[in-house]
Structure formats: structure tokens, C-alpha cells
Subunit: 123 residues, 2 copies
DNA sequence: GTAGTACCTTGAGTTAACTCTAGATCAAGC
DNA sequence: GCTTGATCTAGAGTTAACTCAAGGTACTAC
């Protein structure tokens, strides 16, 4: 069978508006419709959506996600290209992680400093 | 002495526009001026800016950074409050890191899958 | 003292990514 | 067959965080 847009909104946490927007903008491949034009989402659509969320949350801009989805739609001969994109994204995320870890250090340093100030005040 | 807004823009990588915007919006404490109204940044302003960048890049929204800067401006009796905020932010960042690491797994899984497909094609 | 560059303010414009509105069609239960 | 709630499209509106423009003042070097 398939799912309606409302069900997909429910399970992904994306709004109905956002789902239609994603499709209109080519951020996700277009979804099958029934005879009266209502979207019927398949399991594969859900999987693609989940992967798109991964790309989004790792900071890939919508315009690049579009490029990836375009490759996806074009079929198997774009796989090497897709591997390239994903590997670059992986490196991106890795350096984000490193950056964030150094910010954790920074936050921690500040907290320690503040605690020292407090300790000296209460002497 | 002190630095002009242009020099600060140069060293922080923020634009002059952004620096003035940050001050207008209370995202950073207001900077001293000379007799003709020109901003003279001190070393401490630079340090605050660098810390603000840390908060921003770890995803703290401008409105919350404002709150933190407000506490900063109010002096030492807000230190406990600041510790709270920073510790919460640290936890935030830690869960961001965890999330990102799971996304790295996901990206990697996809790459592996694609590579397998390629390998099977070339058999 | 003037040319050229950096700085000032106020307020409007931009960009990305949604988010909502209006007006119409569709589907399910009574 | 009628009501109620979900879905449709096209296009306008929103939000956060800048970014720029216009019109004016200040500083530096000749």
C-alpha cells in the first residue's frame, strides 16, 4: 500500500507544508499520486526522507541536497558521483565534530574560571 | 590603546556591518567610543567576541546569547546563573556531537552500500 | 586645505528555509 | 447525498541573521 502525507508528517516529524515544499523544490523525488492527485508515499520515499534529514542536519544546504537527489533520480550510473558527495560530506561532519569538541573545551574552561571566581569570593 | 572596528573585523572575520549589528542588538556589550563617536575596541571586547562566536557556532540562538551578555554586563553577582547557562550549552553541544557521530555512521553505511553495488556491477 | 579612506546612523533589503492562507477537491461515515 | 476532515495548488507571509545604501562626519597624508 502506501501512506498519506499526514501519516508521513506524523512519523517523520516534518510538517505537511514542509513535505510539499521539499517535493516542489526538488529536495526529495516526486511522490506517486492516486487518480485524484493525492500523494501516496511508499516505504522507499520514507527512507529517502530519512536520509535527506541526515544530510540536512549535518549542515548540507538545500541546494546541495537537491543535487544529490537529482543524482539519485537519474539512476545507477551516478553512483560514483554520489559516493564522492557523501564522502565529502562525511569529512565535513568530521571537522564539525572536531570544532564542536574544541568548543566544549572552551565552555568548560569558562565554567572552571567562573567556579574559581566563586570559590575566591566565598573565602 | 585599542582597535578600530575595521581592525576587529579583520581579525575576527566578522564584517563591520555584523559587528555594529551585534552591538545594536545587544549581542555584545557596547564598545567605548572616542570623542567623535568612533568605536574603540579593547582586548576584552575581542575576547568577548571570540566567546560569542563559540556560543553562536555551537548553535545558541542570538536571543540566548543576548541573555548571557546581559548577565555578563551585570557583573559578578550573575556568575552562578552564567555557569548554569554554559553548562546547559555544554550538554547541548555534547548531544550534537553524538548526533553527528551517528550521522557519520549513516553516511558511511550509504557509501559502503554504493561501493558494493559498484563492485557487483563490475563482476 | 583637500583628496581619499574609514567611520557614523537610520532604515531598508536580502537570503534560506520554511509556514501559512484561500479557495477548491476528495474520502469516509452516517 | 451531506458533513467533516484531509488533501490539493498557487502564491503570499514569516523569521533569523545578517547585509547594504544613503547621506554625513572624521582622520591621514600630502
Amino acid at each position: 500500500m502506501g501512506y498519506t502525507i499526514g501519516e508521513i508528517a506524523e512519523t517523520t516529524g516534518l510538517s505537511i507544508h514542509t513535505l510539499r515544499y521539499y517535493e516542489k523544490e526538488g529536495i526529495m523525488p516526486s511522490v506517486k499520486r492516486n487518480n485524484s492527485g493525492i500523494r501516496i508515499y511508499e516505504k522507499t520515499d520514507l527512507e529517502v526522507l530519512q536520509f535527506i534529514r541526515c544530510l540536512k542536519e549535518t549542515g548540507m544546504p538545500v541546494i546541495d541536497i537537491k543535487k544529490f537527489v537529482n543524482l539519485l533520480v537519474q539512476g545507477d550510473h551516478t553512483i560514483e558521483n554520489r559516493i564522492d558527495l557523501l564522502q565529502k560530506q562525511k569529512e565535513n561532519v568530521q571537522s564539525q565534530v572536531n570544532q564542536l569538541m574544541s568548543y566544549i573545551q572552551m565552555l568548560d574552561g569558562k565554567v572552571q574560571l567562573y567556579k574559581t571566581i566563586l570559590a575566591n569570593k566565598n573565602e
